[in-house]
């Protein structure tokens, strides 16, 4: 038994919940939700001081999902951790439902920020990190960015700000799955050399396989040890990870849900015969 087996089980549960919500709503963003499952599993189980009991404590760690379209993963993790019932999955995107298409802090327990407008989550997280330093709190702020999101100019405004203020209590993770809404990153606005870009902006950069728990663990350990600089973890991932017909297929970015045989296949692959 690997010491990461419990995490693998947790990740499998998240994949089940993601596909379940995706099928209930008949839409959503399954591709980018599946690519960040291991990262969010690690954060919620091993990294963050954040749970139902301390969700309003000013000293809690914060997680800001800047790539708000991957809300399914965050909802799955919050439900798994007891923030709300999985029954809520049925009302995703429905009038009166607790779960909006994109995260909403006023409606859903455990959500820190109304993200979804790309580029703003990093800046908000930087504000949280600076606010924590000013208040003398030792809590940390984590934010998950999409690779396509790095097209936004505000991201680089934020990078300058984070380095200028030596915010070593923030970790940004880039879910680098190489695909964005319209096509491959390389065919939209090329990001490379990405590591050099963050380094040039004064950030501590770590590059990992974003589905590999040992690498994820090492990265967050190194981020904690870094003093005086913000850390960015470039996590190489696979869009649609875990569902064979979704992996690396651009059309599963968004506005899609598996139907018919696709649905049977998806539920089977994540070890689930029917909707939760």
């Amino acid at each position: 038994m690997s010491r990461y087996d419990e995490l693998k089980k947790f990740a499998a549960k998240l994949r089940k919940s993601i596909i379940t919500m995706n099928c209930y709503a008949g839409t959503g963003h399954p591709g980018g939700s599946l690519s960040c499952v291991e990262i969010i599993s690690w954060l919620f189980n091993n990294e963050m001081n954040f749970c139902v009991e301390n969700k309003d404590d000013p000293c809690r760690d914060r997680f800001i999902l800047s790539k708000g379209h991957s809300s399914l993963t965050l909802y799955a993790a919050l439900a798994e951790k007891g923030f709300f019932s999985k029954e809520e999955f049925k009302n995703l995107r429905q009038v009166g439902g607790m779960l909006q298409a994109y995260p909403d802090r006023l409606k859903t327990p455990g959500i820190e920020f109304n993200s979804g407008s790309l580029g703003q989550g990093l800046s908000f997280a930087l504000g949280c990190a600076l606010g924590a330093k000013r208040a003398g709190r030792s809590c940390r702020t984590y934010t998950l960015l999409g690779d396509g999101e790095l097209n936004e100019g505000q991201i680089w405004e934020g990078c300058m700000f984070g380095a200028h203020y030596n915010l070593d209590n923030i970790v940004a993770i880039v879910d680098y799955n190489k695909l964005q809404s319209d096509n491959l990153n390389t065919r939209i606005t090329a990001l490379e050399p990405l590591i050099d870009k963050f380094k040039a902006f004064g950030w501590h950069v770590i590059e990992i396989d974003g589905h590999h728990f040992r690498e994820i663990e090492n990265a967050f350990t190194r981020a904690r040890a870094m003093a005086g600089k913000p850390t960015v973890i470039i996590a190489h991932t696979i869009k649609g990870k875990g569902i064979s017909f979704m992996e690396n297929v651009p059309k599963w970015h968004g506005s899609m849900a598996p139907t018919g045989k696709e649905r049977e296949c998806a539920m089977r692959e994540c070890g689930c015969e029917e909707l939760i």
Binding site: P58, R62, D104, R105, L106, E112, F113, N114, G116, S117, G119, Q120, G121, L122, S123, F124, A125, L126, G127, C128, A129, L130, G131, A132, R134, A135, R137, G153, Q154, E157, G158, M160, F161, H164
Partner: protein
Amino acid sequence: MENMRDAFGKVLAELAEQRDDFVVLDADVSVGTGTYHFRDAYPDRFIQCGIAEQNMLSVAAGIAESGVTAIATCYSIFAIRAIEQARNSIAYPEFNVKIAASHLGLDVGPDGATHQAIEDIAVFRSIPRMSVISPADPIELKAVMPYILDNPGPLYLRTGRSPLPNVFDENTIFEHGKANILHEGTDATIMAVGVMVHRALKAAKLLAGEGIFCRVLNMSWIKPMDENAVVSAAKETGAIVTCEDHTKYGGLGSAVMEIVCENHPVPVERVAVNDIFGASGEPEDLAIEYGLTPSDIVKAVKRVLKRK
């Protein structure tokens, strides 16, 4: 006559002596906005964000999340640049951020069209949860600041740039969302905001000389707007002229017309910038060029009286 920006910076520094529950963010314009007074007195509570207004507004939301009020300052036109951040980072999540913008309208003067925000009322008042206030003189600005800090929620504060003559005395009481009656009259009501308030008072004096007596209202609270004052003016004076250094689309005039049409229709005339961009020039010359002078207000009152 005190400069509005100096009044703003000084009142921030004065308030910082009394309370530690707010910080000030700036986008490399602390001299222009007057926040250098605060920065020099309380450097550890001043957060310089550089020329990056979009990042500044989202950072301000994050700072507010930590439990302090964030006052984000910049020029009005560049607050409009970050309007989506104001909406999605501040108003929608309901963070306690006050966006304090200076350099309003044609009153900015020689810097010309790129720096003259004549759309800010229209843009900010359209955002749910966002309050909008535009004080008429340094006395009102200083009086409302403690109130603004005591009341949580997103707010857009138009602080202006120019020296403005005092229209209030030091003992005036300002209430949330209430218009102030500055001059009584029954023939028509002149409603003005910001730099136009003292021009409206001049117009009322000119009109009084001709036997036309106008009520003059300071409409600094654009949102929430004092509906009772507007409806009373419509009922009691039967005609309204609105005055603003702002495009005629979506600003004070539009807001007043919405209330009048829904409650008690009477003729309304707008003194505002027509559908046109500004240009370089001294503020008073631009006021003449674009029709924002006391005599333009006088003409508008005479027009509205004919429609009564």
